[in-house]
């Protein structure tokens, strides 16, 4: 039991941190820009798919970790400039439009990448003993990378000029314009940043879950739920919620059937939404 619990907790934290990254990307786009991006899961998937191609060509996972998100960032750029800019202020329209984009991206990947799941070799093989089980080292590395990226994001938002601009635009858009902040550029780069984060988490998750064109579908919903329950605009909220939900599910699965654990975690989220609609950490 002790080893079960230990694995469940460790695993819950690791997954929670991966989900947190995905949710962070969504939170930036959504919480700050109020763009509801239903294609976010597809961007996560694209990150994994691009990384597969990079690894095919170069054999280097770490290169993929840098290159793939940048590639997806470009796509994010194209999406924001080409499609979303005209409808940014209409949230319901944006939901539906990005839903359509999600369909298109998924089907394009299906056509060119194919429908079968493909594997990315663990860049850091090896296990360490955890009670009477072994736990893959890679997962710990992923968690560490995730934490560093989150740290980097925090520094970016709170200690750089660009981060200041983002926060200003969120707080009071008109004032930001009056102050000479290039608001359109801020929107654009924030969207790109969110896409990059989604893709980055896709590359991180790929060695564990394998690359598959549908991998974004379930992730998407979880990401949304995490952002809403954690509090739109609250980055801490996303991180905490992601880890908490992951832990509930992981630890719960020890005692009950996993689908029951899923239903419980979903129920918990409904409760939060009803009791505190602004989310756990939102204002």
């Amino acid at each position: 039991m002790a080893s079960n619990l230990a694995v469940a907790v460790l695993n819950g934290i690791v997954w929670g941190l991966i989900m947190a990254l995905i949710a962070l990307g969504l939170n930036l786009i959504f919480g700050l820009l109020h763009i509801i991006n239903m294609a976010h899961g597809a961007l996560y998937m694209l990150g994994a798919v691009f990384s597969w191609y990079v690894i095919e060509l170069t054999g280097n996972y770490w290169l993929a970790l840098v290159a793939a998100p940048l590639g997806v960032g470009l796509i994010g750029l194209a999406l924001e400039r080409g499609l979303l800019r005209t409808i940014e202020d209409q949230p319901l329209v944006t939901i539906i439009c990005t839903f359509g984009i999600m369909l298109v991206l998924q089907q394009l990947v299906l056509t060119y990448f194919g429908g079968t799941a493909r594997r990315i070799a663990l860049p850091i093989p090896g296990r360490f003993p955890l009670f009477d089980l072994q736990y893959p080292v890679m997962r710990i590395v992923i968690a560490a990378i995730s934490v560093s990226v989150m740290g980097g994001l925090w520094i970016f938002l709170n200690r750089t000029r660009y981060g200041l601009w983002i926060r200003a635009v969120v707080q009071d858009r008109e004032m930001a314009v009056a102050l000479g902040i290039p608001v359109h550029k801020v929107y654009m780069w924030t969207f790109v940043l969110g896409s990059v984060l989604a893709a980055f988490s896709g590359v991180l998750a790929a060695p564990i879950v394998s690359v598959d064109f549908m991998m974004g579908r379930e992730i998407l919903i979880m990401a949304f739920i995490i952002v809403i329950v954690g509090g739109m605009g609250s980055l801490w909220g996303s991180v905490v919620t992601a880890v908490v939900i992951s832990l509930i599910h992981g630890v719960g699965s020890i005692f009950v059937v996993p689908s029951t654990a899923t239903v419980f975690s979903l129920g918990f989220m409904i409760l939060v939404l009803l009791v505190r609609p602004q989310g756990l950490f939102g204002e």
Binding site: I87, I95, I96, G100, I221, I228
Partner: protein, 316 residues
Amino acid sequence: MLPDRWKGGAFPLAFGLLMAGLAAVPFFAGLFYQTFLTEILVWALFAISFDLIFGYVGLLSFGQALFFGLGGYAVAIPILKLGLGTGSGLLLSIAVPAAFAAFVGFFSVRLTGIHFVIITIIFALIGSTVGETWTSLTGGADGLVFMAPPLDLGVAKLDLMDIRTTYYLVLAIVALSYLFLRRMVRSPLGKVFVAIRENEERARLIGYDVRRYKLLAFVIAGGFSGLAGGLYSLSLKYASATFLHWSVSGHAVVYTIVGGAGTLVGPILGAGLIMSLEHYLVKLMQATDLAVGAVLVLTLLLAPRGIAGFLRGRRK
């Protein structure tokens, strides 16, 4: 343009002609087109029910699949396991989802905007998780196959194995549902819905219990979504937990947006158009969803009020 006293007659005329045309279809179109139209009608009903809450009340719910799927099971399970008749099944396909909608709606209407969207999705997720794992009841993703007994109407027994009969039954039910909903949105109730959509705060300040009206709309929409699901599973003689998945709600969303939200006619147009498009495309390409997604995006960018909205706008 038209004299005023003609305008009153314009809708009954148009509707009557359309019904006559649709009723005549089995006389000059083959069995396949009859089943195809039956399918379009069923999805159109699902889309109309979505339009009620989205187009008229302004609530975007991606969770309507929950009621659609429940409607399917409300027909399949009583027939298969309790030996009930088709008529009872159809009635249950309205009542059971409506009851669930009352439960889901009770909690959901407390929230607005994106929160509403998310909570409806969460409920649908719970529904599909339960549906997929409670295999002894639902057959899970593999589903339940059943034989629909003839529908006993008292004056006649309708054999649902006959394509033409099923077509007429579905046509009649969908037409009646449309008329009912049309009457509703043109009534004072409908005007309250629109008022809530336009400005919820103001509606509340005027004195309307906004939550109650939203709940009412949600329950009615849930009932009709369920009816659509029931008709669908009757026409397929099959119900599956896959019908409960939130992506099925996407159909209603796409048809309504492309056809034109807030028009009731739009969703029907959207369903017909997109499904016909898929039907022709399937011979050329396998990834028909690609085309559907592209059409959706283009519609939103170029004609955000959909086809019906576009046409209405031009007439003014």
